[in-house]
């Protein structure tokens, strides 16, 4: 997934330093989760699975400007694929992850071919229609998806043949953090690549990008495939950790929530996607206990406030404030 963007010496060291810092941050966050919330590991593992979906959405929405409300399809198909692989005997967690990534990539390809053809409203509606189509199929093809009962009985084998999945979710948690760490470092490199920069150019001004000779459609489709692989990892992780895949993993609500998480954190920034997923799920975890309708009032208000006052997301806003502060000091 890494491309050769960092050819010059100093840039390469800077890139390496960034990668190490990213790895350290995720490992640190993971350790905090492990030692501070030892009873909530299952919840935290769920958050990591969803974070993959949001990061994947960031690749197409934040980097390419594709508005989509059907992204859960990529996640859900991969979860079902990984689950079916496990039921068919491929219980090695890493093999399941690969199955999920491949399934996600294929779904991303189909979805990308369909959705990135247009811009604006047709694009949005095609993405919704694709997502709903997958959801309807998941409901119908109950022989491979379990229908509304969900696909149950997925029992992954030990990681590397050594670490068994325990009932406290410790192995699952550490495994998920490790996968997140590797994927995040790889994606941060990918985000600095010329390919991703060109995607940003397409997002900013499609016409100008086309004028300087960029072939827009194939790039967007490729980006969709990468996003599919990332969402696929998340789907497979969820299947591995929970042992069940339900219809909710392909539903419209899942897609809409992922978009909310992304905007909350900040689109166009992989850290924003990660932080947004964590914040939203924490918010959900602590508020929805009261009543589902109070939760909806609050999340509605939160969304309105973020869109009106922090249109670029919380993380981007914080980054901008810090930059402003630095510049003000530099001037003085």
């Amino acid at each position: 997934m890494t491309t050769t963007s960092d050819t010059a010496g100093p840039v390469a060291t800077a890139g390496l330093r960034n990668d190490l810092m990213a790895a350290a941050i995720i490992a640190g966050l993971g350790a905090i989760g492990y030692f501070v919330f030892p009873d909530d590991l299952a919840f935290l593992t769920r958050v990591i699975g969803l974070a993959f979906l949001v990061i994947s959405l960031d690749l197409v929405t934040g980097y390419c400007g594709v508005a989509t409300l059907g992204h859960a399809a990529l996640f859900g198909v991969a979860a079902y694929a990984a689950g079916n692989a496990a039921l068919a005997g491929i219980t090695d967690p890493i093999a399941m992850l690969l199955v999920g990534a491949v399934a996600g990539t294929c779904t991303g390809l189909v979805s990308g071919l369909l959705v990135t053809r247009f811009r604006g409203l047709p694009q949005l509606v095609l993405s919704i229609a694709f997502g709903q189509l997958v959801a309807a199929l998941a409901n119908k093809l109950s022989s491979i998806t379990g229908g509304s009962d969900g696909l149950a009985g997925i029992s992954p084998g030990p990681v590397f043949g050594v670490f068994n999945f325990d009932m406290f979710g410790r192995t699952g948690y550490v495994f998920s953090v490790a996968v997140l760490l590797i994927a995040m470092v790889a994606l941060l490199r990918f985000a600095r690549s010329p390919f991703s920069l060109m995607c940003r150019a397409i997002k900013d001004d499609t016409l100008r990008a086309r004028m300087i000779g960029v072939r827009v459609y194939p790039r967007l489709v490729i980006m969709y495939c990468v996003a599919g692989a990332v969402a696929g990892l998340g789907g497979a992780l969820t299947a591995i950790n929970t042992g069940v895949v339900g219809l909710d993993s392909v539903g419209f609500e899942r897609s809409a929530e992922a978009l909310i998480m992304l905007i909350l954190g900040g689109a166009g920034n992989l850290w924003g996607a990660l932080i947004g997923a964590i914040l939203f799920e924490l918010f959900h975890h602590y508020v929805s206990a009261a009543s589902p309708f109070h939760w909806m009032i609050l999340v509605g208000l939160l969304l309105i406030v973020v869109v009106l006052f922090f249109p670029r997301g919380l993380v981007n806003e914080v980054v901008r404030r810090i930059e402003d502060f630095r510049q003000a000091r530099a001037v003085r």
């Binding site: 369909l114 247009f118 409203l121 119908k140 909806m296 249109p311």
Partner: protein, 288 residues
């Protein structure tokens, strides 16, 4: 043949409900370019108000419809004033989607807080309860009523847009907002009036269509996508387009549910993908 005759009235009635609710959204999207995912939420408010008026106040059906429409418009005023005004014409889709999803969540939460989390009955008057004899077969009178409401709405809107002073201003604002402004049309007033019209139509559709799309706590979310899809298939801002799309998609959905019920909305969305892929600006829409 029997199946076809069974499907058609239901498809027609369902299509007309879709039309009555979606046309408001279509006008709004054509004029203000706002992807208003909260449109269903206003239809839901209409349903709740009508149910409250019928069950708790005991008023007659026509009065309940009136209360629902006017009440919903009044409720929508603060939303228009504080939120929608910011996103007319200028914003990108993503901002609009998120803002209107936020509004939807907010309305769903508040509505359920006030009216309680159970589905709300909208009892029909005696006149509409029974079957109606068409000569060759019987169909529920309510279906006929819904179809009639759809036809009346379509004709009234056509007259409003094509034959009145307001329609002229509206069309001018749709075609070129800046130029209309320069010619002395107060576009902000036209926008606000259109918003009120759209919301009122949503509430009207929500009430008369309650037999087919029952008013329940998650109504606004459940049909959020459906209304948007109808508009984009028809082409935003086009009355004929919305009518054609509603009838077509109503037919696709009803036929699918009759012939292959276990597939759910599969055929509906296959139809959507095919149509949107071939006509990205809708059946009767224009490229902006």
């Amino acid at each position: 043949m029997q199946t076809v005759l069974g499907i058609l009235p239901d498809a027609l009635a369902y299509g007309m409900v879709l039309f009555t609710i979606s046309i408001g959204l279509s006008i709004m999207m054509g004029l203000m370019r706002v992807v208003n995912l909260a449109h269903g939420a206003f239809a839901m408010i209409g349903g709740y108000l009508a149910s409250f008026a019928l069950v708790s106040l005991g008023v007659s059906y026509p009065v309940a419809i009136l209360i629902a429409v006017i009440g919903t418009v009044i409720v929508s005023v603060p939303f228009e004033f504080l939120l929608y005004r910011r996103i007319y014409r200028r914003s990108d889709e993503l901002t609009q989607i998120l803002l209107t999803i936020g509004i939807t969540f907010f309305i769903v939460g508040i509505a359920n807080y006030i009216f309680g989390p159970t589905s709300k009955p909208i009892p029909l008057p005696e006149l509409l309860k029974g079957p109606f004899d068409l000569g060759f077969r019987m169909i529920p009178a309510h279906r006929l009523f819904v179809i009639g409401c759809g036809v009346v709405t379509a004709v009234a809107l056509w007259l409003l847009i094509e034959k009145t002073e307001f329609g002229v201003r509206l069309r001018a604002a749709v075609d070129n907002g800046d130029m209309a402004e320069a010619l002395g049309i107060r576009t902000q007033v036209v926008y606000s009036a259109t918003f009120a019209l759209a919301v009122g139509l949503a509430a009207f559709g929500g009430v008369v269509g309650a037999e087919l799309l029952p008013v329940e706590p998650f109504y606004a979310l459940r049909y959020m996508v459906t209304f948007l899809v109808v508009v984009s298939v028809g082409g935003a801002g086009s009355v004929t387009g919305a009518l054609a799309a509603s009838l077509l998609l109503g037919l696709a959905d009803t036929t699918g549910k009759y012939l292959a019920p276990e597939f759910g909305e599969f055929f509906f969305y296959v139809a959507v993908i095919v149509i949107v892929y071939i006509f990205p600006h809708g059946l009767f829409g224009r490229a902006h």
